[in-house]
């Protein structure tokens, strides 16, 4: 019925700006009538139709008596003619779109944008339609296909057309469509093909033609294969991403706990301090240098390092210094520090989460393959983690501070004898570890919520990484972080996030019982305890 309507309308005169009846139906009709009106407006292909539909979607379509208006702020235009209406009529009422209508609208707007001159708009429209489109739009899609030359958009349009063709078309057209679909990597295509192959309860097939079913079978296999690869690639990436986050969170701890042997339960809060520093820097930029907003990270990275390092050094001087060699006491005291830090942040910034906005170059993502989108923010963090890792490694192996730190951790008394200022080295090393926690906070602020409890979420995980990797082993920390990232994500795909986390924790607990020194520990000469 609807197809008939559209066909009729396609041939109808386009001399009028818009068919008045359709606009009125859209504004005053029942929801069935509204849906039909949307289809009719889409089929007209008129730019004014797009404006009306967009207005409805944005809640800007209003009625005043019999007139239908598009009201933008204080200005109004007539929905049918596009002419300005002034003054604004007093009594107006908004046209409310229910959920069903909203779905229709989304598809319809996408259909209209298929012929937009802007490539981005067309791409967005194609993506919207690829999720499932009304077959009634086939003529529109075909029209768009004739004009389309873009190498990315054209194949996607072809797929959409095939999807529609499959629903109703000649046998040849449907076979061609099924073959076409075989080249897709969209999960909706899989459902579509499965629908073709479906067997009804009475034993008959949804698709009576055997040839089409055979083709569909082959296409399905191709699509499934591609989808599986896409999924694997996705898991691989999220694993690396999680691994790099764990690594960032744990690297500072690898220095303070791994090298210095200080159990710093406030490590998570130093991460949080870094995240809030990023937030503060962002606010400064937004207020005082909105033009350079995209560059705020260039300032936030060193700032978060320095603030966290300063806090860490202060703590070392005031508290931790007096507790060296008393690990359990250190643990309790640093936990107290973490509570004070949490409450301080709550007092300054409030208990609610704050928003840290990504700079423009970090929003969005790159589409790798098979429909897997890799967010830029996460890619940047992977690179950042690697850079920090290299930085630490260079610092520890190539600089005097690194030499001192390694010397002090191996033999404090001897280092002191040969003139290493051990107390100062402790402070600097602790500051370094804390600063790296700050960097982790800066990175975390780009992908998640920033709140006073941010650190608590990472403290157990980062200790697990260091313990699993083997205390005092930077390489072990890297392997453990990536390993835990993979284990978490693989199990997550299989059993869900919470169970995955539990399984991983239980695994670590068991692993440590087998190998208390962690993955990479030097087998030392048995010393007396």
């Amino acid at each position: 019925m609807r197809i008939l309507l559209i066909a009729l309308l396609l041939f109808a005169s386009r001399a009028f700006a818009l068919e008045v009846a359709n606009v009125e139906k859209l504004a005053f009709g029942e929801s069935d009538e509204q849906v039909a009106a949307i289809a009719a407006l889409v089929a007209s292909g008129d730019p004014q139709a797009a404006a009306v539909l967009q207005a409805l979607a944005d809640g800007e379509l209003q009625v005043a008596g019999k007139r239908v208006l598009i009201v933008k702020g204080e200005e109004a235009t007539d929905a049918v003619t596009g002419a300005k209406v002034a003054p604004l009529p007093e009594e107006r009422e908004g046209v409310v779109a229910n959920n069903r209508l909203r779905r229709e609208l989304a598809g319809a707007l996408a259909g209209l944008k298929l012929t937009s001159p802007q490539r981005e708009a067309r791409l967005a429209a194609v993506k919207e339609l690829a999720g499932g489109a009304d077959p009634a739009m086939l003529p529109l899609v075909k029209r768009a296909l004739e004009k389309e030359a873009d190498p990315t958009i054209k194949p996607m349009l072809e797929l959409i057309a095939a999807t529609m063709e499959l629903k109703d078309g000649s046998k040849e057209a449907r076979i061609a469509a099924v073959r076409m679909l075989g080249g897709s990597s969209n999960s909706n295509t899989k459902l579509l093909l499965l629908g073709v192959l479906e067997k009804r309860k009475d034993g008959s097939f949804a698709e009576p033609d055997e040839e089409i079913r055979r083709e569909a079978q082959a296409s399905l296999r191709a699509v499934e294969g591609r989808l599986a690869w896409g999924e694997r690639a996705g898991i691989l990436f999220t694993s690396i991403s999680l691994g790099s986050i764990l690594l960032l969170a744990a690297m500072g701890l690898a220095i303070t706990y791994g090298l210095m042997g200080v159990i710093n339960m406030a490590h998570g809060e130093l991460i949080m301090v870094g995240a809030y520093t990023t937030y503060a820097v962002q606010n400064l930029f937004r207020e005082h240098a909105p033009d350079a907003f995209d560059w705020y990270l260039a300032c936030a990275v060193p700032a978060s390092f320095m603030v966290s390092a300063a806090v860490g050094m202060l703590l070392e001087r005031l508290v931790i210094r007096w507790l060296y060699g008393r690990a359990l006491e250190t643990l309790l005291a640093t936990w107290g520090i973490s509570l004070v830090l949490i409450q301080t942040v709550r007092t300054i910034f409030g208990a609610q989460n704050v928003q840290v906005e990504n700079p423009a170059f970090m929003s969005g993502g790159v589409e790798a393959l098979m429909g897997v989108v890799l967010p830029w923010s996460r890619i940047v963090i992977v690179v950042f983690a690697a850079a920090v890792l290299v930085g630490i490694w260079l610092l520890l192996t190539r600089t005097r501070l690194g030499l001192f730190v390694r010397g002090v951790t191996q033999n404090r008394a001897m280092a002191s004898c040969v003139g290493v200022p051990t107390a100062r080295v402790d402070t600097w090393a602790f500051g370094l570890g804390s600063g790296i926690a700050g960097l982790a906070g800066c990175a975390l602020s780009q992908i998640g919520n920033v709140g006073p409890d941010l650190g608590q979420a990472y403290i157990v995980d980062s200790f697990m990484v260091v313990v699993l990797g083997g205390v005092g082993q930077l390489a072990g920390t890297v392997y453990a972080a990536l390993g835990l990232g993979f284990a978490n994500k693989l199990l997550e795909a299989w059993q869900g996030a919470v169970l995955a986390k539990i399984v991983v924790l239980v695994f670590i607990i068991m692993f440590i019982q087998k190998r208390p020194q962690g993955l990479f520990a030097l087998k030392g000469r048995a010393v007396e305890t």
């Binding site: 000469r525 048995a526 007396e528």
Partner: protein, 279 residues
């Protein structure tokens, strides 16, 4: 079928899980010293990350013998004791206590129960306990959890503690906190704790380090008095002390035995001189 009285079949015997109840497991394995040898070390090798701490070490200690072991730093003396007492597992080789007890299959407390006592290089005592309690805890007794919850000292045990206190000359310090003793007194206390254990073999790692001459003298007397009743293995750097007590001296070097024999012979052995003086 009726079985004769007093004969229990294997299935009736309570099964003993060695991890749960070690003490009972040891009871039915009394060491056999019929050949007059209390400790055999055979072909022991231990390495840590490429460093060869013990290299095919073989050694035998007789019942009642007092053996001194000397050797430069890193010769493997402490590692050898770790192997005997179950602290370090060797890569290869065997350690037997008497003819029949394989020490390598035992944990530290099991080794102690079998009759091997050890004194550490650094005096290791219970610093928060009194001297009396230190001796009480190390006394030979049922050392399972259940027993210690209800244990009470009887007069015989009190006498034994008092006697040991006299032996190590700490009678007046019985109720002092052990952590407050002087270094030499701590050494004595540790030796006293070893005596309370009534071990058949005593391993003593640098027992006179930090003692005054007078204390060293008395320690030598004590060891000489003990020899014969018990076997002693003494690792010491103090050559005067070794010369005073030694009958047989073993020189370790780079994880194996370099020389063995009476003190004078060993002292004049060119290889030993080379090892001690040559670098």
């Amino acid at each position: 079928m009726e079985k004769p009285l007093g004969v229990e079949t294997a299935s009736e015997r309570p099964s003993i899980d060695p991890a749960v109840d070690f003490a009972r497991a040891i009871e039915h394995g009394k060491p056999d010293f019929a050949h007059g040898v209390i400790l055999y070390l055979d072909d022991i090798s231990v390495s840590f990350d490429g460093f060869q701490a013990l290299n095919k070490l073989s050694l035998a200690i007789d019942v009642g013998e007092l053996r001194c072991i000397i050797g430069p730093n890193g010769a493997g003396k402490t590692t050898m004791m770790d192997v005997i007492t179950g602290k370090t597992r060797p890569d290869s080789g065997t350690v037997f206590f008497g003819q029949n007890i394989d020490l390598l299959k035992m944990t530290e407390p099991e080794v102690a129960h079998a009759g091997v006592g050890r004194k550490f290089q650094k005096p290791t005592i219970f610093e928060q306990h009194t001297v009396f309690e230190n001796l009480e805890l190390s006394m030979k007794a049922d050392k399972r959890v259940r027993n210690t919850l209800f244990a009470k000292l009887n007069s015989e045990q009190r006498d034994r503690i008092a006697e040991t206190l006299r032996q190590i000359r700490l009678e007046d310090a019985a109720s002092r906190i052990a952590g407050l003793l002087s270094h030499g007194q701590k050494q004595w206390l540790e030796i006293g704790m070893l005596l309370m254990q009534e071990p058949k073999l005593l391993l003593l790692d640098e027992p006179v380090a930090g003692m005054s001459d007078d204390e060293t003298e008395r320690t030598a007397e004590l060891f000489l008095a003990l020899a014969g009743k018990r076997s002693l293995v003494v690792v010491e750097h103090d050559m005067a002390f070794v010369a005073k007590i030694a009958r047989t001296v073993t020189v370790l070097h780079e994880g194996s035995v370099l020389a063995e024999g009476p003190m004078e012979r060993v002292q004049n052995d060119p290889r030993v001189i080379e090892v001690y003086l040559g670098r």
